[in-house]
């Protein structure tokens, strides 16, 4: 296991910084069902952190706790060195945590451009009156944010569908637009809930490349949930393994892969 000291260097030579987000003894119950039981882990600056586990293990619940959608009954969430008070999801988003969803949650009635522009909401400071006039500040703000959004659109190679209504797009592109919307917020922590679910090999390769590029170029800290073990082990720097709401493993992909408990619960053994 890793020590708690400041940062480490990954196999491919990237420097990982201090702790960005720390979950301390999180317990989440729905009535009598315990979705998450006393789980602690941390996410460090610049790393790609994976959360894996069988279905119903509580991975998505964990992501929902991080993004403020669920409020855990016990435990503390520390973000950037301070304990986070209980806050509404949109306030969490303002702090710089963006996410994508397991079942795509795009705004179907809007164009791709408008969808990605909603990612910039936290940077929009003009008030209703200024926007009603569409002059001066409001217009300048719109243009400035549009430039950032266009960079993201360029980066994810979705220029050609900019003006298309989202409802008309195929699944794979929708996933990419959703990533674009999250990236447009220039998040300090990016949460990806099964970014590769339902994709074919080629689309998975594309998506993996985008995730690595995002991490590489912008230094974005990423936490992701994924079921494709090949992808997870290749992409991530450290992995948390959950089963029935409990943490059963935490460490580098190699450590996790050789952890007997993890093998029993999730990975299984190769039969020859």
């Amino acid at each position: 296991m890793l020590d708690a000291s400041e940062g480490y260097v990954t196999e491919d030579g990237r420097k990982i910084g201090g702790v960005v987000m720390e979950m301390k003894n999180i317990t989440l119950r729905f009535g009598g069902v315990v979705a998450i039981k006393d789980i602690s882990f941390d996410i460090r600056e610049g790393e790609i952190r994976a959360i894996i586990g069988p279905n119903g293990a509580g991975k998505s619940s964990m992501l929902n706790v991080i993004s403020g959608f669920y409020v855990p009954q016990e435990g503390e969430v520390w973000f950037r060195g301070a304990k986070r008070p209980q806050m509404r999801p949109y306030e969490v988003a303002r702090q710089g945590i963006a996410r994508t969803f397991q079942n795509i949650a795009l705004f179907e009635g809007m164009s791709v451009l408008d969808n990605v522009m909603t990612g910039r909401l936290n940077y929009m400071k003009t008030n209703l009156l200024q926007q009603a006039m569409w002059m001066g500040k409001a217009e300048a703000e719109e243009t400035a944010n549009r430039e950032v959004v266009e960079k993201v659109i360029d980066f994810l190679e979705i220029q050609h569908i900019r003006k298309t209504p989202v409802a008309r797009l195929p699944y794979g592109l929708k996933k990419r637009v959703e990533l674009a919307r999250a990236l447009a917020a220039e998040p300090k922590l990016l949460l990806l809930d099964e970014p590769m679910a339902g994709m074919n090999v080629e689309e998975k390769e594309d998506m993996s490349r985008f995730i690595l590029d995002v991490n590489d170029e912008f230094g974005t800290t990423i936490a992701l949930i994924e079921h494709d073990m090949g992808v997870v082990m290749d992409l991530s720097d450290r992995v948390v393994v959950m089963d029935y709401g409990k943490k059963i493993g935490d460490g580098t992909p190699d450590e996790v892969r050789n952890n007997q408990e993890v093998i029993d619960a999730y990975l299984g053994v190769a039969h020859d």
Binding site: Y90, A93, A105, F107, E108, T126
Partner: protein
């Protein structure tokens, strides 16, 4: 053939987000504005103003308002009539209390007061959605009409319980009361409609519009990516009620002149404006115009064709109108939920390729 964007390149993001990105559209829009402001006032007479133009202008403002709430923000409202009554009565109280202040200010203030009332009745939308919200706004409708009927202060203790618009002028030209010339009332309403449409367009193409549409399309996801639902919904209710209040004030002061609240602003009015929005197109400013024009024109056309040309009895024509509107609502909901505006968009798409569709 001439209607296409080919060769019309945008070199700045500002150009790209303008209201009419295609040159032809832009010029047509200028022509319509020029005709509306420069030609019609010289041709107008009392019949045209009262039968068609004034109701169209005023209902279009109401439809824009309701479209912001229902079409853009996805919050169903059946309280339009009640909110129009708030606009009318606050305009009346202001007109009688401050006779020397300009009508422009009265109408805008009436809109502002209605916005406050709208926010108040919009508060339940934070908790309830869809059907249930519709019922809550229905309560607002009945409560407001009851209030204006029962509290004599609102109609200045007049014996009839009606409110009558006193004669007021703008720049020395009478615009309310029986002596107002048709062109003046027309121009006054037109100015408000043009400004309302402009403001609505500016709001809907920018940040505010995107937060509204985000709430409409998926409110939970919207909140998680940073939309404050309280702010988004309340701003939609405020802006929507502001426009509806203005239209109510104009409807009372310039169009009817005398109003009995249950008759002028009853539940039928709420449905009429809602039908305009549905037939015209949810989530489209142009659709608000189209819907208002359609439902204002329909009775007139039916009367001319049915009663004057074919010689049918007038009561049959009047009932026929109800049947046709009902059938159209059902047809539009089934076949084209985005209304006339969508039909117009499809026509434009076809026109772009015409006459070589492949």
């Amino acid at each position: 053939m001439f209607y296409r964007e080919a060769g019309d390149f945008k070199v700045s993001y500002r150009d790209d987000s303008q209201t009419f990105p295609i040159k032809f559209d832009r010029y047509r829009y200028y022509v319509v504005l020029a005709v509306a402001f420069g030609v019609i006032p010289f041709l107008i007479n009392d019949y045209w103003a009262n039968a068609l133009l004034l109701p169209f202008l005023i209902y279009a403002i109401a439809a824009i308002g309701l479209n912001i709430l229902v079409g853009y923000c996805g919050q169903v409202s059946l309280g339009t009539g009640g909110f129009m009554a708030v606009g009318a009565y606050s305009c009346y109280k202001l007109m009688t209390a401050f006779p020397e202040v300009s009508m422009f200010i009265h109408v805008i203030l009436a809109g502002g007061i209605t916005a406050l009332v709208g926010v108040l009745f919009g508060l339940p939308s934070l908790r309830i959605k869809g059907f249930y919200l519709a019922v809550a706004t229905l309560a607002a409708q009945f409560f407001l009409v009851w209030l204006f009927n029962r509290v004599p202060w609102f109609y200045n203790y007049s014996a009839s319980g009606q409110i009558n618009a006193p004669e007021r002028d703008v720049f020395g030209i009478i615009i309310t009361g029986p002596n107002a010339p048709a062109w003046a009332t027309y121009l006054f309403c037109l100015v408000f409609l043009a400004l309302s449409a402009l403001i609505a367009r500016n709001l809907t193409r920018g940040t505010t519009g995107r937060t509204w549409m985000a709430i409409r399309d998926m409110d939970i996801a919207a909140e998680i990516i940073g939309v404050n639902p309280l702010k988004a919904k309340m701003s939609a209710f405020a802006v929507s009620s502001f426009f509806i209040g203005i239209s109510g004030a104009l409807f009372f002061a310039l169009y009817l002149g005398a109003v009995e609240v249950g008759e002028a602003f009853g539940i039928q009015k709420s449905f009429l404006v809602l039908f305009m929005v549905i037939i015209g197109g949810l989530g489209s400013i142009f659709g608000s115009f189209a819907g208002a024009a359609f439902l204002v024109l329909l009775p007139v056309v039916l009367k001319v064709v049915g009663a004057d040309w074919l010689g049918w009895p007038t009561d049959i024509v009047a009932h026929l109108q109800l049947v046709i509107v009902g059938a159209l609502i059902i047809l539009f909901l089934i076949l084209e939920p985005h209304g006339l505006a969508q039909l117009w968009r499809v026509a434009k798409e076809k026109l772009r390729l015409w006459p070589f569709p492949y």
